[in-house]
Symmetry: C4
Subunit: 411 residues, 4 copies
């Protein structure tokens, strides 16, 4: 990802009156996307937990750290790539798993995959994707992909999803730990809109043989309450809904999804089950405390992702950039540490690396770009962020991404 | 208060086009309520002392502390309840005493009581309520209730109010220390509106036999000046007022109320009088200094409430969340410490507990909800705050409210 | 100044539909005054040096300190008064000297004096007043007054002004040190408006016999350049001006005023001249550095005023509340230390006292009130600030203003 | 630059109804200029790297430091001048090199030069100026000038430019180190506008004999790729552009400029080449790290300019005022340290001096003034900033600019 070339291209396009499809400043995409998205879709993507304090903290933490550029170190030879689990990434970022992309654009995950493949940026399949992973994988060609797992209440389903991910060529499994329960997301709640209840974002499930078996069995056998005494959507309500939306997704499927998509009782003792069922690297996502980081390593995790789920789960949570150094110190060199939540610029990527991250995950901005300009929007965001990081790297005086350390920032 | 069930209910309601009556983000209620309330009523509820600096400080203090969520600790078993004076509360919050609720809704305290009873949240009767406590108590059934006392210039009246509170089943007496004088409330002053002078918020008095006796005597005997040389509302002024409002409240009652509702000369030496007259736990509200906390315990207080009266009394006062740790350290385990002023989310409740509070009191938000949607609004706020706290608890990695300690926050 | 009585009066007025003439929240007066004042007048009063950073810093410093109220200390006996140079002030504030009050209201200093006399608040006559001090003094009766001096380039004039001040009953001389040059006041400069060039604010001079002699001599003798090679207003320009405004002030008077109103070369060595010519207490205004404070005491100053001239002189200067503790520590108990610049509430007065000030000076708010409601507006501001302070004192747990010390604030 | 005289002039002008051409508060010029500039021109001047965080940090750093004025030190004798490389500057600031001034005003650098000459302020010729340096030099008379160099990929061109600068009477060479690559400037990118691609800002090149030779050779010989595999503007694209704009600049010139204007591979080892080719003082611009400062001195630099290019290169970079003390400490008295980026007032100049800068460079504000009022606008800005600094100096208690040290600020 050569930032200089990307710059030249944009400016030359400008000579012919062609301007970028989406802003090259990722902090501007949210307001732009709000103008084109349906309110409930925008609320779902943009919203956070509670009062939104964690989202604000994520951004504020990036603002607090400042880069001290070094001069005369030959900025012509810049290598923004990083190694991660045997792969060389063109730049130290991946596409974070985001569910229900269909709310942003009808091409949804397929558009994202084509953009990811075009730029060689790893894509992390969301467990709540709008398209089954097999179809998305087909768009990716040789481009790297990972699978993000919500640990289901059914271990059979966990096993099935992981097996399918392996079959789809996924190179790592990301277990999201921070969402065994859904956070108190006030914007969605105020609208009364949860996409899953409309049969959206459950394609990984409806395309799964184990899930289908569970749906069938559920009709016959008495069900074990998942989070007793939680009520379940009444058949009539979901029937009405489904008929209204004229979807090919059954009431039973949605109901079963709601029951089993996440396991609130998950503990450290469950990890060996997954460890035994895949040889893929396992990353734990949501780690913010050094003690959890140590335990994760002791439990055999191959990588950590410092994350607060983009501020969507715990209101008033620690900013991930603030949590990162402690986790990195606890982990040392044993496994790579990634981070996400709040990344919006090449400088943000740079700062995360300086504080010990191997790479970051980019979330909302690419979904906003998807809403604004489909596959081309996503692709532009990837190229722009890569260019921005590449230039930041060179202008800060660093030849290669892995060279960036804490001395690159003010104390 | 199971947050997950509450979430599911709201989202399912949404499927049928039913959205919450009031926002599930309590920080949004103030602006919403302003649109439906009469200006003088909104000013009275929303306003604070002086320039409003204390209200801003209260909120800013919550923003400064950040939660560090812990992973894989089994979020399915969450117990948000806490013990307080032998009762088990469904969640660590109570309804703060707020006077003159009639300005928000004609059902006033009765609506609040019905909502409190429905959710099992303790209600603290305001000494300045719009409805006599006996009528409110009747709405509460078995639900817990406390009584908040402004220490009158008449000890006979104090004794009468406390006796009535006991008869009404109140389980604790909260003595508000911070309002022996009314603060300089600029929004009210600019409008020239004090509800008590219109006969509002004096129902606990007009329904009291001692108060009635004092009113009668006042007509005959020379009155002892309360805060000499304070002038008293002239009979003619109040007569005009009362006739205008066609209320059944007499001029004499309002005048007597103004004279005796609070005792500016109150000192620590007065506490034994109350201690001898009730076996109920006595909580002192308004404590912000560790020395006052120690003296309170030495004086036999059974609990403390760190409070700045929602920023309504001293402009530029310390935020209660900032004052809390010092008070907690001074008190140790001897009595429970509660806090209020600025609580707007489950994360706020969580942070207060982490810094040593046993529970918090929720104020303005429920009055805004009352204005917006009556009893149902209050009930929703209680359910939402409970759900938000329950989810925060689980997502932060805590099984039970009392487990939350300072290690749950960044240093 | 009994805050409780003032409150009662405002609320009772409200019963009859009479609301305060100006807001009881002094931070709101600026915006209100802007609506009624001529733009150049408002710019002159509200403006500060450069970018306005000092004005913002003054306010921010007050916000940083927080009061920790103490409970149960008998708030009925509050004494907000303080002793200052043998006088007992009703509250710890004075009316700061502000020039050219005629821009706010035609009654100018006379209205202020009547308000000051009514409330017993000391008035500091401005050297740049719109009305000669003798006329203002006549309005004050027995009420205390001080005189603020800009040290002229003519020592004869200094002597004359001080003698007149003594004859007018002034009880102290305040030497403003921070304005030997006028600051770079961008709002005035953008409008190109300096009131003195229109013959405004020079009444203390035109009414002075020495000044008149200097004007006459200036016509005959070669003038000594004051700040060579500063050009002087050309006669023609001022003639045009004067004729346009049809004032009774001569071109020569304005020209002479511009030349001699302030002495940029003033040093510590000049102080003995003044010391020898008056027995009145001399206060030095503008001291912000502890070394200057020590030198001032060594030079025989009887008091200090920590001030940055309301942010009108040096842009980016230290906030006075931040400078206060250092000055107080340097001075010890030797002389009283006052402060001004940014005071807008009773809490501000309280905080200044807590940090060592004996009293504060109130500036812009009373001029805004003068613009909004004349003498009655000023009087209301004095009553309101007194009431606000009195209540803050009592509610914070202090019986008397001099008791307030650093322990009243958070550390 | 006598601030008092300037004040008097502005106010006297106001008497006759003449107000300043541009605001005397430089922070207001940006918004004013936006109203008169073409959007792409304004974006180019006002924009910064990425999200604009560095620009905000620059300003915030100035706000954090506070001046502590000293009293009674004779403000009549103020000497705002400083010595720099054998010259005495009227005030401690220079005109920063800014390219493409034609976007602000058709008189461009010529207008700036006339203003600089009138005020005696040194002008630093931009390598990207709109007018060849020889023509600008002709406007300057005896007034001081420097030359700012972007180190070309062609050492021949470097040598030619430096020789021309010497011939033009330049007294120093400023090597801009921070722009070997162009930063990720989102406002320009969103518009797709880079002035150089329209043949703007390349006059130093098209007027250069070496550059012309390189253009001619480029047509015949195979070109060595500069930043392979960077694509070059296609001839057709540039042809279209040039014909559209009907400029007298050839396609080949623009293409060659894009290839060679800056050398990304520049390192410390290249400095001797320049050192050997000129006897002029060499200043390195862009130094923010103490280690770079030391190395610069060791490499024979005669001066440093702490700069982040007005926030245009690295987003999230350290504020220059925050970087200044470290660089000054590393350099000691060996060479003068200058700074730029964010200077908007006399107080800013004062603070930079207090933290060790010998002088500062003023950037955007004079271009805004150029856009608003041409040469007279620039001249006014120089006079106003000089006046503001002179008054700040005197009012802070300093007799001469070099006396200002860290003790002038709060700790």
């Amino acid at each position: 990802m050569n930032g200089r070339l990307r710059q030249q291209q944009v400016y030359l396009d400008g000579v012919f009156g062609r301007t970028p499809r989406v802003s090259t400043d990722l902090t501007r995409l949210e307001a732009d996307a709000e103008r084109v998205m349906r309110p409930e879709a925008f609320a779902y993507i943009a919203g956070g937990a509670g009062t939104g304090a964690t989202m604000r903290a994520n951004r504020a933490a990036f603002d607090r750290h400042r880069i001290v550029p070094r001069m005369l170190r030959d900025a012509s030879r810049r290598d923004p790539s990083v190694d991660l689990f045997g792969r060389r990434l063109p730049a130290p970022f991946l596409l974070a798993p985001i569910g229900v992309a269909e709310m942003a654009h009808p091409d949804a995950d397929l558009a994202t995959a084509r953009a990811a493949a075009a730029e060689g940026v790893p894509m992390v399949f969301s467990n709540q994707a709008s398209v089954p992973m097999e179809r998305v994988a087909a768009e990716l060609g040789e481009s790297p992909r990972w699978f993000q797992l919500y640990w289901s209440t059914s271990n059979d389903l966990v096993e099935s999803l992981v097996s399918r991910a392996e079959a789809c060529g996924c190179e790592a499994i990301v277990v999201t730990l921070d969402t065994t329960l859904l956070g108190w997301r006030t914007r969605d709640l105020d609208i009364g809109f949860l996409p899953f209840l409309r049969g959206m974002g459950i394609a990984q499930y409806t395309s799964d043989p184990v899930f289908q078996r569970l749906v069938t069995e559920a009709g016959a056998a008495p069900r074990t309450p998942v989070d007793a005494p939680a009520p379940r959507p009444t058949p009539s309500a979901l029937s009405v809904l489904m008929s209204l939306r004229r979807r090919k997704i059954s009431r039973d499927e949605v109901q079963r999804f709601v029951e089993i998509y996440s396991r609130p009782s998950l503990t450290w003792d469950d990890l060996p089950f997954l460890r035994e069922r895949t040889k893929l690297p396992i990353l734990l996502k949501g780690i913010c405390h050094p003690d959890d980081a140590r335990r994760a390593i002791d439990s055999g995790a191959d990588g950590l992702i410092v994350s607060n789920h983009g501020g969507r789960q715990v209101d008033g949570a620690v900013a991930t950039l603030d949590a990162l150094p402690g986790v990195v110190a606890a982990v040392g060199d044993r496994v790579p540490v990634l981070m996400d939540s709040g990344v919006r610029s090449g400088a943000d990527v740079f700062k995360a690396l300086a504080l010990g991250a191997r790479a970051v995950l980019l979330g909302r901005p690419y979904i906003y770009a998807l809403a604004l300009a489909g596959e081309r929007g996503v692709r532009q965001v990837l190229r722009d962020l890569g260019a921005d990081f590449d230039l930041t790297l060179g202008l800060a005086g660093y030849a290669a991404a892995p060279d960036v350390g804490p001395e690159a920032l003010t104390g």
